[in-house]
């Protein structure tokens, strides 16, 4: 079985596109004079989602831009800064850049433009605008402008990491990435020595570099030198011949049947050969053109980048693969060494390369070539993972500068899928589901009218009807199954997420996947990705302790995160559990008090754990790109509740945290119990119903004369009367004639009083919001057998409503 990774890409493209559009409209709506906090939050969430997705899929350029964007937004959101028109403009520009990047990725290319650095810098400047008093914004704007007109300069940065508090690989990596936002950065050091040597190719001036460094150290501690550009181009010229070596191999690599020498065969042990690595490049098909292009390149305006690229290659050559050991923060890169894809070692795309290759290896074990059809990878029948990885590598930052020109007239195409499946838009499937739903309803109506007929006289009608029933039920099942997909579609991205996150935090974590075959609705699968991503990253960041701490606590050094999916009744349960430190009750309560969240004295654990779902609630001391902004859990809960699901947290100090997500099997169909209240019918989802009882008079009690409770098995449950909540206008019938339905809500159990239980149905969920708006206490509507509309009750909201009303 092979899973098409590009399918996930498509999801990301769509999601990111939607998020960008939403962000833009929210920005346009934002009133700078009186900013609405909710709008700012929404913008922030959109940016955060894009960043998360981009990070997961290795579109590091997008992640970088959104990170900067997010930093500024975060400050606005926390009201540390007041939004200005300038900021909104900058956000919109950033949005445009992201759109272009997205577009480029979608076409399997890479977006390279001075605008990216410019926008990032602008945003950063805005984010710091209240701190950097020494620097007048106007002058620095001028500076930026003039600088961007210049061609890229090569800066060489030398420093002793320990001396400036950048001792750990993680910290170095952060700085490395921050600098990487200015341009292309590479590590020239050997890692062994006390000093780091980085080369930055950027259009930004010394000022911008110093500004970033100023965060970590005194300017004097880092030595910044320019490297003459001519030197680089000279290198290129001398290098041209050697460089040809790469390209000549390229054309031969299109097919594995190449009779060429071993050098061209895409073999996993490519490290021995070293530079076959262009074979997967999108430009490969144009290999010959490329050869022609290359000499030109040395005299084109693009020269610095190209020159740098080849210079890099040279370094690689002379250094062999030792090069990599210095790549900051990259245990992963070390692992890659034997693969030999290190050529991009110092480039911003490195992470991606490493990650891709790494994923490949993981997949190897699992048995699928998950990344093979990665965008940008040419249609290469050389299914060898090596070529897949290099293909992906080629679409990272460095390659396309060449490729973009070589292949400009002949854009690389996405790989065509060859397996026997078709991709149909979800809309079409939904339409099909709707139609089948209609058919089922029509059948029910027919059956209703035929019920009065004499079965003997109308035997054929009756026979036809029962056939119709069977067929439509089969049809419904078949159509629903189109939407069902194994949850492995989301789960499979997590080995990568876990590895990356753990590595960047210096923790040891293994991931265990259980029940990947569990099937659920595709819509749900897509929407699960974000929340799960947050949960897993949270678990690694906050849950799992550092190896030393784990050992000290008598636990194995390596933490374990388990992702488990299973069917339970009519719902799917997805659990994320870790064996980390668990939630800290005191810390949570202290934080709640600080944020002014009202909590009763000595609240039960369950209530304390729910605190983590508050917007803006984070107990992390530092904001990292992994967590700490307090947005994650808020989004998690929101997303899951949007899917009619619920989240539960359970935690034991020192033993770990267990998060359970309960979801309906599908978004489109619901198992429900129809209940009558007066003239109206309502549907109660079966998943929330625990039991139904005929009440006795002594079970009804009141509190303070008003609040009604029902005593059920020694427990007093709040009672919700549909008549009260929905102001039916009719006199409430004697509760003793009604039925109490005990339901499970977010806030514990409750008893719902209805007039009568009617029947159990499978109902097709229709949205009320399509043509109307959200109605409190109701999650949707459906059409009953007689063609009438019945509302589907949302018990959580009902309980809230009833509390307010009472």
């Amino acid at each position: 079985m092979s899973i098409d990774m590009s399918q996930f890409y498509q999801v990301f493209f769509e999601e990111a596109g939607e998020n960008l559009t939403a962000m833009e409209s929210l920005l346009l709506e934002l009133d700078v004079q009186a900013p609405d906090l909710e709008t700012l939050n929404a913008i922030f969430r959109a940016a955060h989602s894009i960043k998360g997705g981009a990070g997961t899929f290795g579109f590091s350029d997008m992640a970088e831009v959104t990170h900067v964007l997010e930093t500024l937004l975060d400050r606005l959101r926390k009201q540390e800064l007041d939004p200005t028109v300038e900021m909104v403009d900058a956000f919109l520009q950033a949005g445009d850049v992201l759109k272009s990047q997205l577009q480029a990725h979608q076409e399997g290319e890479e977006y390279e433009d001075a605008r990216v650095a410019e926008v990032c810098e602008h945003l950063e400047r805005l984010a710091r605008s209240d701190e950097g008093g020494g620097e007048a914004p106007v002058s620095s704007a001028d500076q930026t402008e003039s600088e961007t007109k210049d061609t890229a300069t090569h800066w060489r940065l030398a420093f002793a990491p320990a001396g400036i508090g950048q001792g750990t690989p993680g910290e170095r990596q952060a700085l490395f990435e921050a600098l990487g936002e200015l341009g292309r950065i590479q590590d020239l050091g050997d890692g062994e020595s006390e000093r780091c040597l980085w080369q930055l190719t950027s259009t930004a001036g010394r000022g911008a570099i110093e500004e970033i460094l100023a965060f970590v150290c005194e300017p004097g501690q880092v030595q910044i030198d320019t490297v003459e550009t001519p030197e680089a181009s000279a290198e290129t010229e001398t290098e041209t011949e050697t460089a040809y070596g790469f390209f000549t191999d390229a054309p031969g690599l299109q097919g594995e049947a190449s009779p060429d020498s071993a050098a061209s065969a895409p073999e996993p042990d490519q490290d021995a050969l070293g530079y076959g690595f262009f074979e997967g490049a999108p430009g490969t098909e144009q290999g010959t053109e490329e050869r022609a292009e290359a000499p030109d390149a040395t005299s084109t305006p693009d020269q610095p980048q190209e020159a740098d690229f080849q210079a890099e290659a040279e370094i690689q050559e002379s250094d062999g693969y030792g090069f990599f050991r210095n790549a900051p923060g990259s245990e992963a890169a070390l692992d890659q060494e034997h693969r030999g894809y290190g050529l991009f070692g110092g480039s911003p795309g490195m992470e991606r390369v490493a990650a891709v290759a790494q994923q490949d290896r993981l997949d190897d074990e699992l048995g699928f070539g998950l990344f093979n059809p990665a965008p940008g990878s040419p249609e290469s029948r050389a299914d060898d993972e090596a070529s897949a990885a290099t293909g992906a590598a080629a679409s990272t930052k460095s390659a396309p500068t060449r490729d973009g020109r070589a292949a400009s007239g002949n854009a690389p195409k996405r790989p065509a899928t060859t397996d026997s499946s078709i991709r149909v838009s979800v809309e079409k499937v939904d339409q099909l589901i709707n139609l089948v739903g209609e058919l089922v309803i029509t059948h029910a109506m027919l059956a209703d009218s035929a019920a009065g007929l004499d079965p003997v006289v109308h035997e054929r009608i009756m026979g036809g009807l029962s056939n119709l029933e069977r067929n439509s039920r089969d049809l419904q099942e078949a159509v629903m199954s189109i939407r069902m997909m194994p949850i492995s579609f989301v789960f499979n991205r997590f080995p990568r997420v876990v590895r990356d996150t753990a590595a960047s935090l210096g923790k040891k974590v293994t991931l265990k996947l259980v029940g990947e075959d569990t099937e659920l609705d595709k819509g749900l699968i897509e929407r699960m990705a974000d929340p799960l991503n947050h949960l897993v990253r949270n678990s690694i960041d906050h849950g799992i302790e550092r190896p030393e701490a784990r050992l000290a606590a008598g636990k194995p050094e390596t933490g374990e995160i388990v992702l488990r999916a299973s069917h339970r009744g009519g719902s799917v349960v997805v659990e994320v559990s870790d064996d980390g430190g668990g939630l800290n009750r005191e810390k949570l309560l202290a934080k709640a008090a600080k944020q002014g969240i009202p909590m009763p004295d000595n609240p039960p654990d369950k209530d304390v754990w729910q605190l983590i779902f508050h917007a803006g609630f984070s107990t992390a001391e530092r904001v990292t790109d992994i967590s700490g902004r307090g947005v994650g859990m808020d989004v998690v809960r929101r997303n899951i509740e949007d899917m009619n699901g619920r989240v539960e947290v359970d935690s034991t100090a020192g033993r770990g945290t267990h998060i359970t997500i309960r979801l309906p099997l599908t978004l489109a169909i619901l198992d429900g119990l129809s209940v009558r209240m007066g003239e109206e019918m309502f549907i109660l989802p079966l998943t929330v119903i625990q039991e139904s009882i005929q009440p006795r008079a002594e079970q009804f009690k009141t509190v303070v004369g008003k609040g009604r409770v029902a005593q059920i098995n020694d427990e007093y449950l709040p009672m919700v009367s549909l008549h009260d909540v929905f102001n039916s206008g009719q006199p409430e019938p004697d509760p003793l004639d009604g039925i109490l339905v005990i339901v499970e809500t977010n806030e514990g159990r409750a008893a719902v009083l209805v007039d009568e239980l009617v029947a159990q149905h499978q109902v097709v969920i229709k949205s009320l919001e399509t043509n109307y708006r959200k109605v409190e206490g109701v999650s949707g509507a459906t059409i009953m057998g007689d063609g009438r509309v019945a509302l589907i009750l949302d018990v959580d909201a009902l309980v809230r409503l009833s509390r307010r009303g009472g």
Binding site: A22, S25, L26, E29, N434, G437, E438, I441, E680, M681, V725, F726, N727, S728, K766, S767, L768, E769, T770, N771, Y772, R773, K774, V775, E776, G777, V778, A781, I783, G787, R788, V789, A790, L791
Partner: protein, 167 residues
């Protein structure tokens, strides 16, 4: 403000446009026919809790859930009774489908922009924001309603305002 409106309608209606007219009590109203999807009888509606009285509820129209608004209740006009002659005009307003109950549908008329006169201001007595103007046809006065503006207004509460902003 009146000038503005006149200008606006003159630009928009160089040639004649068609309007569907309907009656509410003694008054005759006209709406842009392009916004009308169909006309059907009044069916049993499902009430929606805690909604204003002029929102009668929702109906199932071939699998689509459609809210029904009684204009007679909204404008406090006419006898509110529901029988087999009660008519519902199904509107399609920027993709959203909704039905309005009226006393009766009379005609489809064509009007040029210059035939529509601006409505006088009624001050606080009557909100004329949703009234495009008044037209005369065979001695009858027809009140031209900007149905889209009316139906998406906050006052009607038919549409989540946030939803509108995004859409």
């Amino acid at each position: 403000m009146n000038d503005e409106r006149r200008e606006g309608s003159a630009v928009a209606t160089d040639s004649a446009r068609e309007y569907l007219t309907f009656t509410l009590g003694e008054e005759e109203y006209g709406i842009d026919i392009l916004k009308v999807q169909e006309i059907r009888g009044y069916d049993a509606v499902t009430k929606i809790a805690n909604s204003p009285d002029f929102i009668k509820g929702v109906i199932n129209m071939r699998g689509i859930i459609v809210p029904i608004i009684d204009m007679r209740l909204k404008f406090h006009l006419g006898q509110v009774e529901y029988n087999e002659f009660t008519v519902v005009i199904i509107l399609n307003i920027s993709g959203r489908i909704m039905g309005v109950v009226v006393d009766g549908v009379s005609d489809v008329i064509a009007l040029r922009g210059d035939q529509v006169r601006p409505a006088p201001e009624f001050g606080s007595v009557l909100d004329t924001a949703y009234i495009d103007g008044l037209a005369t046809l065979d001695e009858r006065m027809i009140i031209m309603v900007d149905i889209e503006k009316l139906m998406t207004s906050q006052e009607m509460g038919l549409v989540d305002q946030t939803h509108l902003a995004v859409a």
